[in-house]
Amino acid sequence: MIKVAIIGLGKMGMSHCAILGAHPDVEMAAMCDPDGLLQSAFKKLTNIKCYTDYTKMIDEAKPNAVFVVTPTRFHAEMVIYALEHNCHVFCEKPFCINHEDGQKMVALAKAKGLINQVGYHNRFIGTFNEMKRLLSIGIIGKPFHFIGEAYGPVVLKPKGGTWRADKKSGGGCVMDYAAHVLNLINYVTDNVLIEARGTFMPEIFSKEVDDAVYSTLKLENGLQGQLSVNWSDDTHRKMTTSLKIEGDGGKLEADATTLKIYIKEDKPAENLKKGWNIKYITELTSQVFFNLRGEEYSAQIDHFVHCIKEGITEHRNTFEKALQTDFIIDKLIEDANK
C-alpha cells in the first residue's frame, strides 16, 4: 500500500482525496487544511488523520507520497519540504509562481529519484491523446496553425472571491484556465511554447486579475497559433477546452468529448476516409477503477500510483513539463504588460 497525505482540501483537494480513498493500492492516511469546518468534518466522519501544519503531518504520518493542492504561491515550500522528506509529490497546477523555485523543485525531485506529477488532467483525455497520436504520424501533413481555447463560467459578477481573485496567490484566468490550454498545446504538439505576442488580458468583472487571455503563440519548432481563453463566459455550463490544428493535408479538432478529423486523402491504415471523420470519447476511453467526476481525474491519479509502484520517473506529466507551462505564462503576462 502507498501511504498518501494531502495538503489543501478545496474543490480539487476534496476530489483527489475521494479518488485516492477509493484506490485499491492507496492508504489515504492524513490531511492538512486550516479550515475549522473541514477539520471537524474529517475528524467526525472519516478515518483520515487531520493536521493544520503540513510539516508536522509529513514528520508524523511519514507518507510515501504527498498531494499539494493549495494556492499556487504555497506550492514551492510545501513541495520542497515533501521532497526533502523523500515523498513522491503530486502538485496541482499551475506549478509555481517563481521560475527559480520551479527549477529547484525539478532538480531536487530528479536528484532524489522521486516521482513527480502535476494535475494537468487533459493529458489523460482520450480525444486529446488520439489527436496527439494522429498528429505525430503526420495524418494532416505539415501543420501550419493552431487554436487553443477554453471557456467557462467561473467569475460572472463583480465581487471579490477566493485566492483565485488574487494575483499574488497565483489567481486570474491566465493561471487557472489558460494554463490548461498552454500545457495541452505543448503536450499534443510534443513541443514547447516559447513566445507570446499581441497579448491582451482584459478584466471583465474582476478588479485585480485578468478574466480572459488572448494572444498569438509560437512553438520552438516554429508553429504558430492563437490562444483564446475566458473564464467569465456563461454560454458554457462548465469549463470547455478545445484545440484545433490545421495542416496542409487536413485538420484536427478536439475537445473532451469529440475528435474531428478532416483529411484530403484516404488513410486506410488508420481506417480514415477522405473528408470528415469523427471519433467519440466513448471509443477512446478506458474504464477507471473509480469514477468521481470524469475518467481523466481518476486516470491521472492511477498513473501517479503506477509510476510510484514501477519507479517510472520520466512520464507524460512531470514537474519539468509543468515548468514549461509556467514559462509561457510568464511570457504572456510580460507581453500583456508591455
Binding site: 475521494a18 483520515i48 466513448t282 473509480f290 481518476s298
Partner: protein, 286 residues
C-alpha cells in the same frame, strides 16, 4: 417505481458526446413551455415520471403544474439533488464556507438561526438536512416518491468514507418526505457493497448500464455479475444509449436482459423518440 422514467439532460444542454448538440438543445428549450410540451407528450404516451436535477428552471415547471393540478395529478417527480455545477462553480469562486452561506437558507453566521446553530456546533447531519430542504423547496405540493442524491455527492462521500451522511440521508428522506431515498453513482458495484456494509436495506441505485461499458467503472463484467446476482438492491439503468454510441434497439435489448433492472431512465424530446424507446422497452421486457 414506474418502469420507464423520463430524464432531463436534453432540456438543460447536457450532451456527453457533443457540445454542438448541447447548444442546439439549449436553443430549443430556452422556453419553459417547450419543456412542458415534452412532459405532456410523455404523459400522453403513458410515461408519468420525470427524473430531474434540482435545476433553477424546474421551479417554473413546478409552478405551472401547481396551477394545473387536475391535469398533473398522476405526475411524479424523482428529484436529483443537488444541481452539481451550481455548487462546483460556487466552490471555485467562494470556497466551502462561502458556498454554504450562499445556499443554506438563513444566515449560517447568525447563531440564533437553525443554520447558525448547526454551523457553530459543526452538526453535519443538520447541515445536510438544511441543504436537502433548500433543494426540495421547489417541489412543494408535488408528488416526489423517490428522492435521489446525485452521483457527484454519492461518489464523493463513498470515496472519502463518509458513510454516516448516506445513512442519515436515508433516514431523513424517509421520515421528512415520506419518500424512498435513491442514489445515483458511477460506481454501482462498490455502492452495493457499501450499502450492505452500513445497513442500507434494498437501496435504489441508479447507474450507467450499457452494452459497451461506458461510464461503468471497474468493468462491465462486474456490473453484469451484480445485476445477475440476488444481492438486495433496486437498479435503475441510465446512459443505456452510451451517450448515443449505441442504437436504441440494441441498447434496450441489452438492458432488458437483466430482469433485476427495475426502471430505465432515458432522455428524449420528440414524440417519435419517446414512442420508439417506450415500444422497445416494452418489446424486450416481455
Amino acid at each position: 417505481m414506474d418502469r420507464i422514467l423520463l430524464g432531463d439532460n436534453q432540456f438543460f444542454a447536457v450532451n456527453h458526446l457533443s457540445d454542438e448538440k448541447s447548444r442546439i438543445q439549449s436553443v430549443k428549450f430556452k422556453d419553459n413551455q417547450a419543456i412542458i410540451n415534452v412532459l405532456d407528450t410523455a404523459m400522453d404516451l403513458g410515461i408519468n415520471t420525470f427524473m430531474c436535477t434540482t435545476h433553477d428552471r424546474i421551479v417554473k415547471i413546478c409552478d405551472y403544474m401547481r396551477q394545473n393540478p387536475e391535469k398533473y395529478k398522476n405526475f411524479k417527480f424523482h428529484p436529483c439533488m443537488p444541481y452539481a455545477h451550481k455548487y462546483a462553480n460556487a466552490m471555485t469562486e467562494l470556497g466551502i464556507v462561502g458556498t454554504l452561506k450562499e445556499y443554506i437558507p438563513g444566515n449560517i453566521f447568525a447563531v440564533a438561526s437553525k443554520a447558525g446553530i448547526a454551523y457553530v456546533r459543526k452538526d453535519f447531519p443538520a447541515l445536510m438536512e438544511l441543504l436537502v430542504d433548500a433543494e426540495m423547496k421547489m417541489f412543494k405540493g408535488m408528488n416526489t416518491p423517490v428522492i435521489f442524491l446525485q452521483n457527484v455527492i454519492v461518489d464523493l462521500l463513498i470515496g472519502l468514507g463518509m458513510y454516516d451522511i448516506l445513512v442519515h440521508y436515508v433516514e431523513y428522506i424517509k421520515k421528512n418526505y415520506d419518500a424512498e431515498p435513491g442514489f445515483i453513482t458511477m460506481n454501482m458495484p462498490k455502492m452495493v457493497d457499501i450499502c450492505e456494509e452500513i445497513g442500507i436495506k434494498n437501496p435504489i441505485i441508479c447507474s450507467s448500464i450499457n452494452k459497451i461499458g461506458f461510464r461503468m467503472s471497474g468493468d462491465i463484467e462486474t456490473y453484469e455479475k451484480y445485476l445477475n446476482s440476488n444481492r438486495e438492491f433496486r437498479p435503475i439503468a441510465m446512459q443505456c444509449l452510451a451517450a448515443g454510441a449505441l442504437k436504441p434497439e440494441e441498447a434496450m435489448e441489452y438492458v432488458c436482459r437483466f430482469p433485476k433492472v427495475e426502471s430505465i431512465l432515458f432522455g428524449a424530446s420528440s414524440r417519435a423518440h419517446i414512442q420508439q424507446t417506450k415500444d422497445l422497452i416494452e418489446k424486450y421486457s416481455k
